[in-house]
Amino acid sequence: MSTSSKSLLVQGYEVVIGFETHAQLSTASKIFSRASTAFGAEPNTQACAVDLALPGTLPVMNKGAVERAIQFGLAVGSHVAEHSVFARKNYFYPDLPKGYQISQFEIPVVQGGRVEFFLGDEKKSVRLVRAHLEEDAGKSLHEDFIGQSGIDLNRAGTPLLEIVTEPDMRSSAEAVAYAKELHKIVTWIGICDGNMQEGSFRCDANVSVRKPGAPLGTRREIKNLNSFKFMQQAIDFEIRWQIEQIEDGFEIQQATVLFDPDTGETRAMRTKEDAADYRYFPDPDLPPLVIGRDWVERVRSEMAELPRVMAARFMADYGLPEYDATTLTQSQAMAAYFEAAAQACGQPKLASNWVMGEISKWLNAVEDCSFNEFAQIVPAANLAALITRISDQTISNSAAKTVFVELTHAPGTRFDSAFDYVDSIIEARGLKQMSDSGAMEALIAEVLAANEKNVAEYRAGKDKAFNALVGQVMKASKGKANPAQVNELLKKALG
């Protein structure tokens, strides 16, 4: 649990934040029906009889949803319950077809756990209370209808994992860092596609303030934060608003609030009378969920290394700085690619630079291309070969950028080896650095002879003249001279 440090106080108040995150699980079918969960279909074309709660329909549990819950539980070091129970949460809303949501109440599938991350230099650890399985509701559409709303139940029944933290966070920055780390975990282990615009990852922030040492203040819940940028804004506004209220002598009333990105403000939702009497009871249509220990162990054995662990390993084994290790482990695909390239060429820092640099730049420019798709185009072996040709001085760094662009056109599978492919490009574009020192010396001699004025200036003590000579040598070599070598030999020639 993070300690409250004076520097985090806002106008003398301590901020207390807890999160509830709803992650849509990446199953093909819904949690209790066999309709598709694919995003973007025409309204109600993916809402089958069970999803519509037609009379006589009953829920049947999706194994894939349970498997993903187990994966999450293991990833955060929690206890995966051997028996857990589905319960009905009863309330009326047009996007809730049955008039109740099937969720878990007293006995959730995942219990406890923690999420660790860095906030600046400081290591943080946020405790999880639980994570449970439940079904998503449909959507209400308000535009296009005057005085009415259109209900689309395609989303109804999509599996959700609701992840609940203890109120361990003490600043909006920490909260956002937590959310980003959680996002990374669920996408890394592949249980959620993390697409926040499509609503795959939605956060509710419970925010309260208190004077240090005082009991917990009344909290308000900011619902449906689905962008990290708005998350920070919303929480900051809410904190300031609550403090202002208290300073003005008003008590904070428990409420659910929405953030309006246009105004940058939070406002309370229309108050629901009978604040939440959900009348939870175990769903009689679903016997208890039993998860044997052997299932858990099988999932554990099949799980990929987690990002924090992998980052630590990259630092230890490859000597990478923390920044690189953290950046490279933003996705499994990127980390795997880096590692394959690094091992192939034996130059981990260079590999890291290329992945974080040119490759990331290329992906940003192209848009809509996943790292996995990129790896199909430029297999790690090709990058490794390119890096080798830099470090063995065959080509300069700038020439390598040109080669890289070529490499992004095709994987070059018709070549016997990555080296053959890379070398063929170097050859075809005439990018080979000059490395023959004899030839270089001859060239230098020519340049010196043609640039007597610069030589004189250099000998007179003007260092700039040296750079001018280097430039001339590079020009004369048509860019093929190895800059380091030029420097060395030119100094030698000048004496």
Partner: protein, 99 residues
């Protein structure tokens, strides 16, 4: 446990039922009559007894069956919406939902 008129109003609201004064009164009377027979349950000592949610669980453990994650429901929107009160462009229409 005797109910009063406020209880009736609260429960009716939770259940989205509209009871006028006469109905409300009748409901109160009937419910209180009903809860008289329920009182005998309180006297029963159930310490250490697990609730029985699935009747046959008293014989053998009943565990939730899991199905494979596969899509097999085709688009049957028209048939599914055959008895819908109000539909436009595939959407169920309701009075405006205000948040």
């Amino acid at each position: 446990m005797a109910l009063n008129a406020q209880d009736i109003a609260r429960i009716a609201k939770l259940a989205r039922l509209e009871l006028d004064a006469a109905h409300s009164d009748r409901m109160l009377h009937q419910l209180n009559g009903f809860f008289d027979i329920v009182e005998q349950m309180n006297a029963v000592d159930t310490a250490g007894v697990e609730p029985l949610a699935h009747p046959t669980a008293v014989m053998e453990q009943v565990a939730l069956r899991l199905r494979d994650d596969a899509v097999s429901e085709p688009n049957q929107r028209e048939a599914n919406q055959r008895s819908a009160p109000a539909v436009e462009r595939g959407l169920f229409l309701v009075p405006k939902v205000i948040e």
